[in-house]
């Protein structure tokens, strides 16, 4: 994945992710990114987040540094996306009091193709927001340009 396409997101959706991270602090928040992937449609590479599906973090045992989304949650998110004519193009979660960088645990549990947005929340205030994609060989995440837009791009 040498040329990771840009991930576009509307400003109000980026703010919604930040708010979710603040609301659940000091626990991790998580949710699905609903949108369109232009490459899959044979267009110029690029994908855009056009909706969110907030989820409940299923990790009751360590919600401060882990999040978990069950297969049923994934199926629900896919259904919600389909109803809106969209696809699940990735996932977001927060890193309470940690940088917006994927951890080794993130990498070990990641799927390819999806975009993974991470928002850092320090002392209850949202800070950096980044996006990442897993390399094809699973050895590392690559940063994905995240561009906040006012209007639809894809």
């Amino acid at each position: 994945m040498s040329d990771t396409p840009t991930l576009w997101i509307r400003n109000h959706l980026a703010e919604k992710i930040r708010r979710h991270g603040v609301e659940t602090y000091p626990h991790e928040c998580c949710g699905a990114l609903l949108g369109r992937d232009a490459e899959a449609r044979g267009e110029m590479p690029g994908r855009e987040v056009l909706g969110l599906h907030a989820l409940v973090n299923r990790r009751d045992d360590s919600p401060r540094n882990r999040f978990s989304v069950t297969a049923d949650d994934v199926r629900d998110a896919e259904k919600v996306a389909r109803e809106q004519g969209l696809d699940v193009i990735g996932w977001y979660h927060s890193h309470p009091d940690h940088p917006a960088r994927p951890s080794e645990f993130d990498r070990e549990h990641a799927w390819p193709w999806y975009s993974y947005i991470i928002v850092s929340v320090h002392n209850g205030a949202s800070q950096e927001m980044t996006s990442w994609r897993l390399e094809d060989d699973r050895t590392k995440f690559s940063p994905q340009a995240l561009e906040v837009r006012q209007r639809t791009a894809v």
């Binding site: 990790r59 540094n65 999040f67 989304v69 979660h93 645990f105 993130d106 799927w111 390819p112 094809d136």
Partner: protein, 93 residues
């Protein structure tokens, strides 16, 4: 007739962009074996280096989770649908 394997969106780039594939198979393990033989790049995303299904890979026969059946030895018959459903996990370490 055969067993149909539904390939989830994030794995389609490793399966010739196909959303499903059909194989003659009498167990789930056999079907997944055919799948990862035909599309070798799928293997590392579904299985660990020692050949076990990754913990965040969920496999269903029709709507039954194979963890509650006979896992990869779960028998299949013509017309069955095998779905590979991701679960998502992560965290700041």
């Amino acid at each position: 007739m055969a067993v149909k394997v539904i390939i989830p969106t994030p794995l389609r780039p490793y399966a010739g962009k196909r959303d499903s594939a059909e194989f003659k198979a009498s167990t789930v393990g056999e079907a997944l074996g055919h799948l990862t033989t035909e599309f070798a790049d799928l293997r590392k995303h579904l299985f660990t280096d020692d050949g076990k299904l990754r913990s965040f890979v969920n496999v269903y026969v029709n709507d039954e989770d194979i963890r509650y059946l006979a896992k990869e030895n779960t028998p299949t018959k013509d017309g069955d649908t095998i779905s590979i459903i991701p679960s998502i996990a992560g965290g700041c370490g």
